[in-house]
């Protein structure tokens, strides 16, 4: 039993790290643009398919496919925001949120139109699981873990040390003051969309490397992504990481008592519990 729990914890941390990547994207858009952008689901799917094309059709290795997914999903994110969501933002956060759901529906179906409903898998070498101290781990899991950690580290370094990264945090803190200081909020918004949707795309590839992809890939993980962001504190990037690890571990541990199909319910339950006890999430909103 303790070994089983240790195995679930290990799996949970791996899953949580992957989840953190799109969760950072979701929370970053929230921090800067102040609305829950549900279209993160569609961009996750777009990234997953862009990476799949790069991997399977062009024969690129998974690590490069991640780069392709980041750029394609990021550009799609900027384009979709400029054309569709940005003009609606003056109407309020909730209207924009509704539009984001509609946008997700459109984009998902564009993917479905092109690729159909079939499940697709990445081309991966089949390797045997590693075993140590009675715990099993697949090399692919470790690989994905490393990609996720590198992506997150890059985001943190960008936000902490670059002028543009600091400007992004400044806009998230206080958009009015940022504009007084000469920070171009539109540019920051575009950049945030690029990075955030790019991260969603990377998340899509990681999900695809882990299992398989179809047009609903993004939608299937989105509840866990929301849960991670809300549990950690909407708008807080370290919060998204903490939240994602919490949800990842929680979903795995739930296997001890619940049927696997209910994993995503854990996220929903976690949202309710955390919001009841700490309405601003574990780390609080707006904490960087």
């Amino acid at each position: 039993m303790p070994r089983e729990i240790a195995q679930l914890l290990l799996n949970g941390l791996m899953a949580g790290t992957i989840l953190a990547v799109p969760a950072i994207g979701f929370t970053a858009i929230y921090a800067v643009l102040r609305f829950p952008n549900f279209a993160i689901a569609a961009h996750l799917t777009i990234g997953a398919f862009a990476g799949w094309l790069a991997n399977v059709s062009l024969g690129l290795p998974a690590a490069l496919a991640v780069g392709v997914a980041f750029v394609v999903a990021g550009l799609a994110g900027v384009l979709n925001d400029e054309l569709i969501l940005k003009p609606l933002r003056p109407a309020g956060a909730l209207t924009t949120a509704i539009a984001a759901v509609a946008l997700t529906l459109v984009l998902e179906n564009v993917v479905r139109f092109v690729f159909g409903n079939d499940l697709r898998g990445y081309d991966l070498p089949i390797r045997r699981d590693w075993q140590a101290a009675g715990l099993r781990i697949a090399p692919q899991q470790v690989h994905n873990f490393v990609i996720a950690v590198v992506a997150m580290a890059a985001v943190f370094l960008f936000l902490a040390f670059t002028r543009t990264g600091k400007a992004m945090r400044a806009v998230a803190d206080n958009p009015m003051l940022a504009s007084v200081k000469g920070i171009d909020a539109d540019r920051v918004a575009r950049l945030t969309n690029f990075v955030a949707m790019g991260l969603a795309g990377v998340g899509g590839v990681l999900v695809g490397l882990d299992t398989s992809i179809d047009p609903l890939t993004g939608f299937r993980v989105i509840l866990s992504v929301f849960a991670a962001a809300v549990v950690g504190g909407l708008g807080s990037i370290p919060g998204a990481v903490v939240g994602a690890l919490t949800i990842g571990v929680g979903e795995e541990l739930s296997l001890l008592v619940l049927a696997p199909a209910y994993r995503t319910v854990v996220g929903f339950a976690a949202i309710l519990v955390v919001l009841t006890l700490r309405p601003r999430g574990i780390l609080g909103e707006r904490a960087y």
């Binding site: 002028r163 400007a167 803190d173 009015m176 003051l177 007084v180 200081k181 171009d184 707006r286």
Partner: protein
């Protein structure tokens, strides 16, 4: 001496039918401190927002030297050398003190690096806290930081919106000393204040705004002695 800032007949409000300012004039010469005082709701803060480019006036003109400011966005106004320090929410709470100053000098990062060192000399309290998040500062320190951020762009004109609001008397006194010191470097300052006497004490000239209109103006020392002014603001 020609006016640095000239505000003429400005009518402004937060919606087309809303007139908080009903025709206000204001002139500021290079290098002087001008205090704008008046009862709550007189439109003092609104006036600063119009000058800073945060609010487009319905009518009237705002000129900085030869340049027309009315209708220009805040970003362009600040690029012309006008720095606005809002009354509240005037720092980035989750950024460190140093990062706040960098954002203050965002438009000119190269000059900013040099100026940060100068600022830390002028504001030693901020230097000690350079790595702390701004949300951890005391009220007085926060106002200092807000002003220091504004100075990062070497402005010709500094707009201060009630800098002493909410501060303990000692902190307020320190703050006014800093305002005088900053002015000593040649920066013209327009300061909106509730603390009428203190504000007039450090100003060269003063304006009194009542209900969106100019009520009185003149040398600060005279206004401070004016019986009407004393009755309105000092209750005696």
């Amino acid at each position: 001496m020609s006016a640095l800032l000239a505000v003429e007949g400005v009518v402004a409000g937060y919606s087309p039918s809303d007139e908080i300012l009903k025709g206000v004039d204001l002139a500021v010469d290079s290098g002087e401190i001008v205090s704008v005082i008046g009862p709550n709701g007189a439109g003092k803060s609104t006036l600063l927002k119009v000058v800073a480019g945060l609010l487009r006036p319905h009518r009237g003109r705002v000129r900085l030297g030869e340049a027309a400011l009315e209708g220009k966005p805040a970003r362009e106004v600040s690029a012309l050398g006008v720095a606005f320090v809002p009354q509240e929410h005037n720092v980035f709470p989750s950024l460190t003190v140093r990062e706040n100053l960098e954002m203050g000098g965002y438009v000119d990062p190269r000059a900013a690096r040099r100026r940060i060192d100068e600022i830390f000399v002028r504001f030693p309290a901020l230097a000690d806290k350079r790595r702390h998040a701004a949300r951890t500062l005391s009220g007085g320190q926060r106002q200092m930081l807000a002003m220091a951020m504004a100075l990062m762009v070497a402005p010709v004109l500094l707009l201060l919106d009630e800098p002493s609001a909410g501060l303990a008397p000692r902190a307020a006194e320190q703050l006014f000393d800093t305002v005088v010191a900053v002015n000593g470097d040649g920066v013209a300052i327009v300061m909106v204040e509730q603390n009428a006497l203190e504000a007039l004490a450090i100003a060269r000239r003063g304006y009194i705004l009542v209900d969106g209109r100019n009520s009185k103006s003149g040398p600060a020392a005279e206004l401070a002695r004016d019986p009407d002014v004393r009755r309105i603001f000092l209750g005696g």
